[in-house]
């Protein structure tokens, strides 16, 4: 009860913090607001590393996202998430310390077939309670962190009320820039983000859930994305997939849902050697298979068809109850897929609550 109240409380605070600073109390969709004082993603985007692993303060929203599909010593599948969000409330890039209007949020979760454990952290920007540095790389909020000399070798750790984990991550392939050189378009009207991934991590470490610690191995996928406007005003949320084929290929795929017109689709097909190409919207058919008895707004089963790649698969959530009941609730969890190809992946569904 206390937890619930405090969660609600934090939601109110944060929402108010955000709204009051923009003076847009009616527009609840903070991701789609017009923020002329923040930068937009240039069409000539050219990503520079390691600099671009760091934070981009002139942009409003940014995240570092790590999802891992693991197996414990008994071959039980397990999903893991570590995310750090940065939300600038005002373009106070030059302001330091407590004056800076910036909020950082951390989400971490461990999802097994039976149990989805998650935790959220919230921190204020400007005072190093949370942040990202590039050389060496470190992203942190309180005592959670994702760090390493470079993006080739990272360690990740987090502690929640009933879970704890620590993994080492070794990259077995190159960074993948989505869209055009990393400029990932999100809507027909041109909203875009800078978006790259490291989908080739081999992960090894331990995960503790409800006091039981298990050694785990598997793969992990890291994303880093930033923008000042992810969605247009007519868009509501997105459904995002990362798929690891048993044969080594990978796919990143998403649709941004429009309120009144056709949804916006995009994706990247990645070969096992790291070569990749964008998947055009016209190539993608993404069909949610609604279970009639499902009371939740989230879809557990999806049919994905990409005819140009002879892909026709059906995905199932490992644990349908993988909602992140955080300030902005969303669904994030591991999925298993079968059909023309089989493998494991991660699914994220956002914007299902107004």
């Amino acid at each position: 009860m206390i937890l619930k109240t405090s969660v609600l409380f934090l939601k109110i605070i944060t929402l108010f913090f955000i709204l009051s600073n923009y003076g847009i109390s009616e527009d609840s969709n903070k991701l789609s607001s017009n923020h002329s004082r923040f930068s937009t993603i240039s069409k000539n985007l050219s990503l520079q590393f390691p600099k671009d692993h760091g934070s981009h303060n002139q942009f409003k929203i940014e995240w570092w996202y790590l999802t891992a599909i693991l197996e414990d010593e008994y071959d039980n599948p397990l999903g893991l998430q570590w995310t750090l969000f940065r939300v600038a409330l005002e373009p106070t890039f030059e302001k330091r310390n407590w004056d800076r209007s910036e909020i950082w949020m951390g989400n971490a979760a461990v999802t097994s077939k039976e149990l989805h454990s998650f935790q959220e952290k919230i921190a204020r920007g400007g005072v190093s309670q949370a942040g990202v540095t590039t050389s060496p790389f470190e992203a942190w909020i309180d005592d959670w962190n994702l760090s390493g000399d470079s993006w080739n070798n990272l360690t990740v750790s987090a502690t929640g009320d009933n879970f704890k984990y620590a993994l080492t991550l070794d990259a077995k392939g190159p960074l993948i820039k989505h869209g055009e050189n990393g400029r990932s378009v999100k809507s027909a009207s041109g909203q875009a983000s800078a978006y790259y991934s490291q989908p080739f991590f081999q992960a090894r470490g331990w995960v503790e859930q409800n006091g039981k610690r298990n050694k785990v191995t598997g793969t992990a996928w890291a994303d880093h994305e930033w923008s000042s406007q992810f969605m247009s005003d007519t868009q509501k949320g997105w459904d995002w997939f990362s798929l690891n084929f048993k044969t080594g290929e990978k796919i990143m795929l998403f649709r941004v849902r429009e309120k009144n017109k056709a949804h916006f689709y995009s994706g990247t097909y990645i070969n096992a050697d790291g070569s990749h190409r964008p998947i055009k919207a016209s190539e993608i058919t993404l069909t949610p298979v609604e279970a009639k008895s499902n009371p939740s707004p989230y879809t557990n089963t999806w049919i994905i068809k990409i005819d140009s790649l002879d892909i026709h698969i059906r995905t199932e959530a490992l644990n349908p109850l993988s909602e992140m009941e955080t300030i902005y609730p969303y669904w994030e969890g591991p999925i298993l897929f079968t059909g023309s190809h089989s493998g494991k992946g991660f699914l994220e569904m956002t914007g299902y609550y107004d």
């Binding site: 206390i2 109240t5 405090s6 609600l8 409380f9 934090l10 109110i12 605070i13 108010f16 913090f17 009051s20 600073n21 409330l89 310390n97 407590w98 004056d99 209007s101 909020i103 919230i122 921190a123 204020r124 005072v127 190093s128 309670q129 942190w140 309180d142 005592d143 502690t159």
Partner: protein, 815 residues
């Protein structure tokens, strides 16, 4: 038809008031004052309660465990994020007075508290925050300062350009804002004053050590409301007392009105109206009267409370640190409950009469009221009740424990004394009558007085309660005052008190003052729970200053020598009582590292007004066991004439360093002022009770005046002058008041005894020496006589001016 049938008898009943409007006014006055006094006490209590819950807000944002700088006030704010990254669940805070921003009438600067809302509220329940204070307002634009109306007004004068939000639920004297703003206003960029723990304590305390920080356990467990419980119980008891005294008037008047209306009531019964109908009509009448009185009472209570509240505010603030706003708010529910109180009071006082109506027989002959016949049997009942109550007094005296039983003891003593009063008066006059007076008029005077005891007894009882309470409370307050002032003189011996902001400056101050003053006595303290008792451990130098002035209740013969040799410590009376420890017992507590310490108690000192336990440890021992507590506070001894010089020297040497220098006389005058206000409410209420008793006396005399004429007419007929009769009436009232006063004085002293030895002891854990104040009694007697004279004046004047025909009529009517 039916309506008329009911309306006519009702009008017949009501007609009585038209004939005797004074009686109606008296019932209204009695009921209104009773309701008003009771309600005003409740209004005050409610306001105070609100203040506590407001103060509670402040403790909501301060936590049980706090991290502070080891030396000094401020530390770098980077430690916040460093410790968060090490897993410490902490929230930063900066707090300090805003220079020269004072609330009107207050001596203290407004304290600004800067917090980080995101980490502060992480584990707090939303329900504890009043609507105005929820962070949505607080965080708007991140430029908000929240405070009570007066505080915000004071801040606006300072021309601070921020978004001020007035919250009626925030204690005055404090303002809450974001840390970024607070750092700027307090000129403390990148600085913090504390890091409060909002979660469990990590095991690595060395993280703090390395940063020059220390962990402090806050003693928030001293519950404000429990502290002030006795204060409110005190007020409530007074409210109740005034209420009861007021009801005495109502009872007396209603009873008389009933007796006078017996004729009409019987006629109604003879006409065929059932006892139920007649009783119902009387009930409706009482209801109407009580509703009118109730409404008047609410209005009056509002004014009364508004007049008393400023004193209460100062009292609570001074005594307990609870901040009380002077504003009053009356809610509809309060109005209704007040009406309820009035109706309840009227019902209780009219119940005996109403029951009599129910049993009234239509054929019963119309007898004149024979008060004297009843007197004796009434006295028997009263005596029996008084004896029963005395048994309960003995019970409470022997076995009672706790504040409630202390109050019950007080209550039963007062009531049994009240019941015994008529017996006392009866016996006293009987004794006088044994003397064979030569003058028949004198003999008649006393015999008649004896006969009047019963009819006046209700108002005399009210007077007795009022007098006993006045003597009792007056005695306690004065004893308290005398003791307190004496204690202040003993405690505040040093000429100057200095507080340094950090250890560096403290050292410089010491160097600066060495050789200039006679003694520099450091004062250091830590809070600790000693066997579940919130206590403060002080480090002090056993200097002759203390030896000469410290009031020890119990002591080892070599206490000061042993203290200087660090062979033990002294504790306050409260701690001694709570832990049941006395001189030569060992007391156990912990050092800052958690090591168990045990020292012999060498003395117990009185410590009036302190809710906490206190322990005075020789400075050397304190330094050894609490090395992390900085030495920032000093008491300075110096010749009086040097005070201004040293003061200005220090001010010029440390102008920018914010050292706080307090003059002993300053502290004394503030303390005395607070003290004087502390009991002004109690004094005011006890005087009001006396006033109500005066009204009661007036009521009884006025109500009796009609019958009196018929009783006095024969005397006039045999030649006694009207003026003589009038004078005798006044003299009798004065004599009865005087006798009541004589009876009330020992009862009042008994009240003093109970208040100081039981109520106070239970409430505060300290005993008060009793002093006697004969001048106070004398002035009270004078006041009583004046009041009696005034309350009987009207009747006497009427009597002296009554036309012979009136007296003749009365005389004939009586025969």
């Amino acid at each position: 038809m039916c309506d008329k049938l009911i309306l006519l008898p009702f009008l017949a009943i009501l007609k009585h008031w038209k004939r005797r409007p004074l009686q109606l006014i008296l019932i209204l006055v009695g009921l209104t004052t009773a309701t008003a006094l009771w309600n005003s006490v409740h209004l005050i209590n409610n306001e105070a309660q609100k203040a506590y819950s407001d103060a509670q807000i402040l403790s909501e944002i301060s936590n049980e465990k706090t991290i502070l700088a080891k030396n000094g006030l401020y530390f770098e704010d980077k430690y916040f994020s460093e410790l968060r990254r090490l897993g410490w669940p902490i929230t930063p805070r900066i707090e300090g007075p805003i220079n020269n921003v004072k609330i009107n009438g207050s001596e203290l600067d407004v304290v600004l508290i800067g917090i980080d809302p995101l980490s502060t509220f992480q584990n707090k329940s939303l329900d504890t925050f009043p609507q105005d204070l929820r962070p949505e307002k607080f965080l708007r634009g991140s430029r908000v300062i929240v405070g009570g109306p007066k505080t915000i007004k004071a801040l606006k004068v300072k021309e601070l350009v921020y978004n001020f939000v007035i919250s009626n639920h925030f204690p005055e004297g404090f303002a809450l804002t974001d840390i970024s703003i607070a750092q700027k206003i307090l000129n403390a960029g990148n600085k913090l004053t504390s890091l409060d723990l909002v979660g469990g304590l990590p095991s690595e305390l060395s993280d703090l050590e390395a940063r020059g920080l220390r962990l402090k356990q806050n003693d928030n467990d001293v519950d404000l409301s429990s502290l002030t419980k006795s204060f409110h119980l005190n007020l409530t008891a007074f409210g109740l007392l005034s209420y009861i005294v007021g009801l005495f008037i109502v009872y007396a008047t209603i009873n008389l009105a009933f007796e006078q209306r017996k004729g009409i009531l019987k006629s109604l019964r003879s006409l065929g109206f059932s006892a139920v109908t007649v009783t119902s009509l009387m009930i409706v009448e009482v209801l109407i009267i009580s509703l009118i009185a109730g409404n008047l009472g609410v209005i009056l209570s509002y004014f009364l409370a508004a007049a008393l509240l400023p004193d209460v505010a100062i009292t609570l603030n001074g005594l307990f640190g609870a901040n009380l706003d002077n504003g009053l708010s009356v809610e509809p529910s309060f109005w209704f409950s007040s009406l309820g109180i009035s109706v309840f009071g009227a019902s209780c006082s009219s119940a005996p009469s109403l029951i009599k109506i129910g049993t009234l027989s239509p054929i019963e002959s119309s007898k004149k009221i024979a008060l004297y016949k009843k007197t004796k049997s009434n006295l028997k009942y009263q005596f029996a009740t008084a004896i029963a109550l005395m048994i309960s007094i003995i019970y409470f005296f022997k076995f009672g424990d706790g504040l409630i039983s202390a109050f019950l003891l007080l209550g039963s003593t007062l009531i049994s004394a009240t019941l015994l009063l008529p017996i006392f008066l009866w016996l006293s006059i009987s004794l006088i009558l044994k003397y064979k007076f030569k003058n028949p008029l004198v003999h008649w005077f006393f015999a008649d007085s004896k006969q009047q005891i019963n009819s006046l007894s209700v108002s005399l009882m009210a007077l007795l309660i009022a007098l006993a309470v006045n003597v009792g409370v007056g005695g306690m307050v004065e004893s308290f005052r005398k003791t307190f002032i004496g204690w202040l003189d003993q405690r505040l011996v040093s000429e100057l008190y200095i507080l340094a902001p950090d250890i560096e400056i403290a050292k410089k101050i010491e160097i600066n003052l060495t050789n200039k003053v006679s003694a520099i006595l450091p004062i250091v303290k830590v809070s600790q729970k000693i066997f579940d008792t919130s206590s403060e451990i002080f480090g002090f130098v056993p200097h002759s200053t203390y030896q000469e002035h410290w009031p020890l209740l119990e002591e080892n013969t070599k206490v000061w020598e042993m203290l200087r040799q660090e062979k033990g410590l002294i504790i306050n009376e409260q701690l001694s009582r709570r832990l049941k420890l006395s001189v030569s017992d060992m007391i156990e507590f912990q050092s800052s590292t958690g090591k168990k310490l045990s020292f012999e108690i060498l003395g117990v000192y009185s410590d009036y007004g302190n809710p906490k336990g206190q322990l005075m440890l020789p400075y050397g021992l304190f330094k050894r066991y609490f090395p992390d507590v900085p030495k920032l506070r000093f008491a300075i001894r110096l010749p009086k004439e040097m005070i201004p010089q040293i003061r200005s020297d220090l001010k010029s040497a440390f102008s920018k360093k914010k050292i706080i220098i307090t003059d002993q006389t300053e502290i004394k005058s503030i303390s005395t002022k607070i003290f004087d206000k502390t009991f002004s409410i109690t004094r005011a209420l006890s005087l009001l009770t006396l006033g109500v008793a005066g009204v009661a006396l007036f009521t009884s005399t006025a109500a009796l005046s009609d019958n009196r004429n018929s009783q006095l007419a024969p005397l006039w007929a045999i030649g006694v002058q009207q003026n003589t009769l009038a004078a005798l009436e006044t003299i009798r009232a004065l004599a009865l008041s005087m006798l009541t006063f004589i009876f009330a004085l020992p009862i009042g002293l008994c009240v003093v005894f109970l208040l100081t030895n039981y109520v106070n002891l239970e409430a505060f854990d300290w005993k008060l020496p009793i002093y006697y104040f004969p001048y106070q009694w004398l002035s009270l007697l004078l006041l009583t006589l004046i009041m009696t004279f005034l309350s009987t004046a009207l009747h006497s004047i009427k009597l002296s001016r009554a036309s012979p025909s009136e007296l003749l009529k009365a005389s004939l009517y009586d025969t």
